[in-house]
């Protein structure tokens, strides 16, 4: 697809502004009614899906040209997909998130990049990770763990740590715990250590399609060579890349998030808790595990009209609107932990507020990214929870930074941390 292929969406967007809010049916209060962090922070229409449709149309029609403001409009978005859900509540056909990706691809092609992103991309090309760390240190997170490296010994399940859990010292323990718990539950698990590579999902969201393709092809090739059938990851971004972005490239691996595997083990009686964890917690749905975590459905087709002017697609086009995201497994795991009391925030599941770390926002717009996370922290606190729990290292990093900046006492956990405490 090319940007021009979304011209119909641009012209059919009715500018209703539903994209700015959580689904209207789900609004529970003034304080937590908004859905799109980008327009909530910047306020101009152009920072919403409806506005970006209009800006893209203006650009492709030659009515405007690239400016600093245009770059800001295009890149100051966490690509969280809240607008995509809202647009499909009623308008079943619009694809603002896909259009947003195409718009970014076009800007990158045209050299309209951000220096903050280029710094990361340059490092990524050399070091295969998003944190501008040395590739040679990638496997350090697993030092001391007794676990197979699939380069030497085959394993039924590959654990992919991802860039954030590999390099972020505050979070690496969660990855170590995941491997240990899965292994102790009888899972034949292996890792790739220093040979693991970035999934490419975050650079895809930033607009660097070629970089993504290189990384994806490299990973698919490595997994295929190692005979990998099943991949487990604790990172929502990696989960999304492997389950949604890789299949169109020919990947055929079973992809599970750690919470799905844990949920399966608990329900099969293979993982039992022995300790009580007396905590009142709230759960944050990562965008790439929740609304963007729906299974990939292959589709190739074209638009047609029925009843003269009713627009449909032949064959039936899959609708990604967050309905079938990964929502129950993390909640079921939390509810299974003795002593844990799960209290929900107002914005959850397909209409959860984003953590602010995605789409290159954390790298290029730290103030916006931090504000978005702080908004979520406020929402978490409003539930009376003592901790916010998530299932993505990027979300957790952003929350830790927001809590640190504001001096809040709210604790931030990965689900695996609580599981570990209960064993």
């Amino acid at each position: 697809m090319a940007l021009e292929d979304y011209k119909a969406d641009m012209e059919r967007c009715s500018q209703c502004s539903y994209c700015k809010w959580v689904p209207l049916d789900q609004i529970k209060s003034q304080r937590f009614a908004k859905g799109c962090p980008s327009v909530s922070y910047n306020n101009f229409n152009s920072y919403s899906a409806r506005g970006r449709f209009a800006v893209a149309l203006s650009l492709i029609n030659g009515q405007s040209t690239y400016t600093d403001r245009v770059r800001d409009i295009v890149y100051q978005c966490a690509t969280c997909g809240s607008c995509d859900v809202a647009d499909k509540i009623c308008r079943y056909n619009l694809e603002p998130l896909e259009m947003m990706h195409e718009l970014r691809f076009r800007l990158v092609e045209d050299g309209q990049t951000l220096p903050q992103h280029l710094k990361v991309i340059d490092s990524l090309r050399q070091q295969n990770n998003m944190l501008m760390e040395s590739a040679s240190n990638r496997g350090d997170w697993a030092k001391g763990l007794v676990v197979k490296n699939i380069a030497n010994k085959p394993a039924k399940v590959l654990f992919h740590a991802g860039c954030r859990f590999s390099y972020d010292k505050d979070l690496s323990e969660s990855a170590r715990s995941a491997v240990t718990i899965l292994k102790n539950a009888g899972v034949d698990i292996g890792i790739m250590g220093k040979d693991e590579s970035c999934c490419g999902g975050r650079v895809y969201d930033m607009g660097y399609k070629d970089e993504f393709l290189k990384l994806a092809e490299k990973t698919i090739k490595a997994w295929t060579a190692a005979g990998v059938k099943t991949v487990v990851t604790s990172c929502a971004d990696c989960f999304h890349a492997f389950s949604r972005l890789y299949p169109p490239l020919g990947a055929k691996f079973e992809v599970l998030h750690t919470v799905q595997y844990l949920d399966r083990l608990i329900k099969e009686g293979k993982l039992k808790f022995t300790k009580t964890v007396p905590r009142r917690v709230t759960y944050h749905d990562p965008c790439h595990l929740g609304r963007q975590g729906e299974p990939y459905v292959p589709w190739q087709g074209q638009e047609k009209k029925i009843f003269k002017q009713v627009v449909v697609y032949e064959p039936r086009k899959p609708r990604y609107n967050g309905a079938w995201g990964v929502y129950a497994p993390p909640r079921d795991v939390l509810k299974a932990i003795p002593g844990v009391e799960l209290v929900e925030m107002e914005r959850i599941k397909e209409y959860a507020w984003c953590c602010g770390a995605g789409g290159g926002s954390r790298e290029a717009y730290p103030e916006f990214s931090g504000w978005t996370a702080a908004e979520r922290i406020e929402e978490a606190k409003s539930t009376g929870a003592e901790a916010i729990v998530s299932a993505c290292g990027w979300c957790e990093r952003n929350f830790i930074d927001a809590v640190t900046a504001t001096g809040d006492k709210l604790k931030v956990f990965d689900i695996i941390d609580l599981v570990k405490q209960a064993i």
Partner: protein
């Protein structure tokens, strides 16, 4: 004419650099396509409202005042809008700045005892409703849905909607008002103007209701309304809507003291009689001919799609092959939706009996298919929150209402079959969706106590398709001519022709004068005097109709 740097800097000094922009691409996100939605003119293919000179995001009444005063100083036109879902909210001319009221989005107070809320422009219906429900109150949601600003419809447009029979239209619900007049001066009206609080719009302070809005409102053409108090009404339901279901088929378990029915009738006369009887019995909370917007032929199939999260429009053809779908569709041919709200369980029992009597007297029935618990729960939420109104556009991306058989129920029902046949013939030509001719939808009783219905017969088209858009314009021209010939006058589809023209800009003066010099020309001449007094520098647009 671009803003001078001096003027831009002066505006920037008021709102700060973060809240002003004249970037061309950004400005293009503040233009409205005239090939779209219910704007009551056109549709005109790939025609847009003009690009403003700058967009400003004021954060307070003081900032709005300062901006308007600068507009008077530099002779720059201005247009304020909140939720931007119609061409009415956008500039008509060059040399106009756009005020986006988005930053003024607070529910400032809910006075539970006196049953009103004080709100800013960008509070939307859904937010106000959610806050009001916490204290057992509710707000009227206008027909365009809960994404719209109650302040905008209360001050500047009709404000009609499905809950009008119980709660009145928003034109009726406006109490105290804070108005930045076109010259930048501030006027507080009603009790607020006398320093006595927000509870009354008419006195003991100044009343300006007839100047600022009249029946239809001035559509943003006469200053900026920065705060209002708006009436709230009893809500005998839960403090928070317990929404269930899988997106997009959300639903709410209907409480025991509510009922949600689709009522159908053997004749249109029976339909009209039922309206009068319901109003006389004072039993309706929400009344709407809602799902008929999908068309007489397709509405039940659409309800099936909307209540099943796995279905899409793709399923429409297959569903229409099902004889049971066709049978139910026929059963609901002359229908409307009614929500009853009992303040107690005894009350709802009484209302149910009263409704049963009305149905016996009129030969009507409760459409059985819509009584399925899942569909009841879905339609209950749909009608209470009105959070799916962009379904108006679901078929092809564009729609507008035509004919507009507005008035007492006897009026619309007398002509609906004639209009249906007329539209059905145009549907066959292929440029508008073939939905069954009758897509007439609207509130049942759009003012307090009932008394009138507002119907617009939707024509669904594709704004991305030149033939569809231009074919729809041809249909609207024909339907207007037909309405004139039949003595109904031009319909809703031409409502804004006197304000905005085919190029997206102000209607030329000679055409405007011709359109406004009909039967009520003295009204528009009087409004000319008002405009000269309140807007001496002519900084508002022609949505405020005047005849020179």
């Amino acid at each position: 004419m671009a803003l001078t740097r001096e003027a831009y800097r002066a505006f920037e000094d008021v709102v700060g650099p973060r809240n002003i922009s004249d970037d061309p691409a950004l400005l293009d996100s503040y233009r409205y396509p005239l090939s779209h939605t219910a704007i009551h003119l056109g549709p005109y293919y790939r025609v847009y409202t003009p690009r403003g000179e700058a967009v400003l995001l004021p954060g307070s009444t003081e900032e709005v005042q300062a901006i308007v005063k600068l507009c008077n100083k530099y002779k720059i036109k201005f247009k304020a809008s909140s939720t931007f879902w119609s061409a009415m909210g956008y500039p008509n001319d060059e040399n106009t700045i756009q005020l986006d009221m988005r930053r003024m989005d607070r529910v400032l107070e809910i006075d539970e005892k006196n049953m009103f809320a004080i709100i800013e422009p960008n509070v939307i219906g859904a937010v106000l409703q959610a806050e009001a429900m916490k204290v057992g109150l509710n707000t009227h949601i206008i027909g365009a849905g809960s994404s719209c600003s109650p302040l905008a419809s209360a001050t500047s447009f009709a404000g009609a909607g499905p809950s009008g029979m119980f709660m009145g239209g928003h034109g009726e619900n406006m109490l105290g008002l804070e108005w930045v007049m076109p010259d930048g001066e501030l006027l507080r009206t009603g009790s607020l103007g006398a320093g006595l609080g927000w509870f009354c719009g008419e006195g003991p302070g100044p009343s300006v209701r007839s100047i600022i809005r009249g029946g239809l409102g001035t559509q943003g053409a006469l200053g900026v309304f920065t705060k209002i108090a708006i009436k709230l009404f009893p809500w005998p339901g839960p403090a928070r809507l317990p929404v269930e279901g899988i997106v997009p088929a959300y639903k709410v378990p209907m409480p025991d003291n509510f009922r949600t029915y689709t009522l159908s009738f053997p004749t249109w006369q029976a339909w009209a009689d039922a309206c009068y009887k319901i109003w006389d019995a004072e039993i309706g909370y929400i009344g709407h001919r809602q799902f008929s917007m999908f068309g007489r032929d397709l509405k039940w199939a659409m309800v099936k799609i909307l209540t099943d999260p796995t279905k899409t429009l793709y399923d429409l053809e297959e569903l229409m092959q099902d004889p049971e779908v066709v049978r139910i569709t026929e059963d609901m041919k002359r229908d409307f939706q009614l929500v009853l709200a009992g303040m107690t369980l005894r009350d709802i029992e009484w209302q149910d009996k009263a409704l049963d009597e009305i149905l016996t007297e009129t030969g009507g029935w409760k459409s059985a298919a819509m009584l399925d618990p899942d569909i009841t729960d879905w339609s209950f939420l749909y009608l209470v929150r009105l959070g799916h109104k962009n379904l108006n556009l679901v078929y092809g991306g564009g729609y507008d209402g035509c004919f507009g058989l507005q008035g007492n129920p006897d009026f619309g029902t007398q002509y609906i079959e004639e209009v249906t046949e007329f539209k059905r013939q145009w549907e066959e030509k292929g440029n508008i969706a073939a939905a069954g001719g009758d897509c007439a939808m609207g509130g049942i009783g759009v003012m307090g106590g009932g008394g009138a219905t507002v119907w617009e017969n939707f024509a669904h088209f594709d704004p991305h398709d030149k033939a569809s858009t231009e074919g729809t314009l041809e249909f609207f021209n024909a339907s207007s001519a037909y309405g004139v010939k039949r003595g109904w006058g031009p319909g809703m589809e031409k409502q804004n022709d006197s304000a905005r023209w085919t190029d997206g800009k102000t209607t030329p003066k000679e055409i405007r004068n011709k359109l406004l010099s009909g039967g009520q020309s003295s009204v528009f001449r009087y409004q000319r005097r008002i405009k000269e007094t309140f807007d001496p520098n002519d900084l508002g647009d022609t949505y405020y109709r005047t005849l020179e």
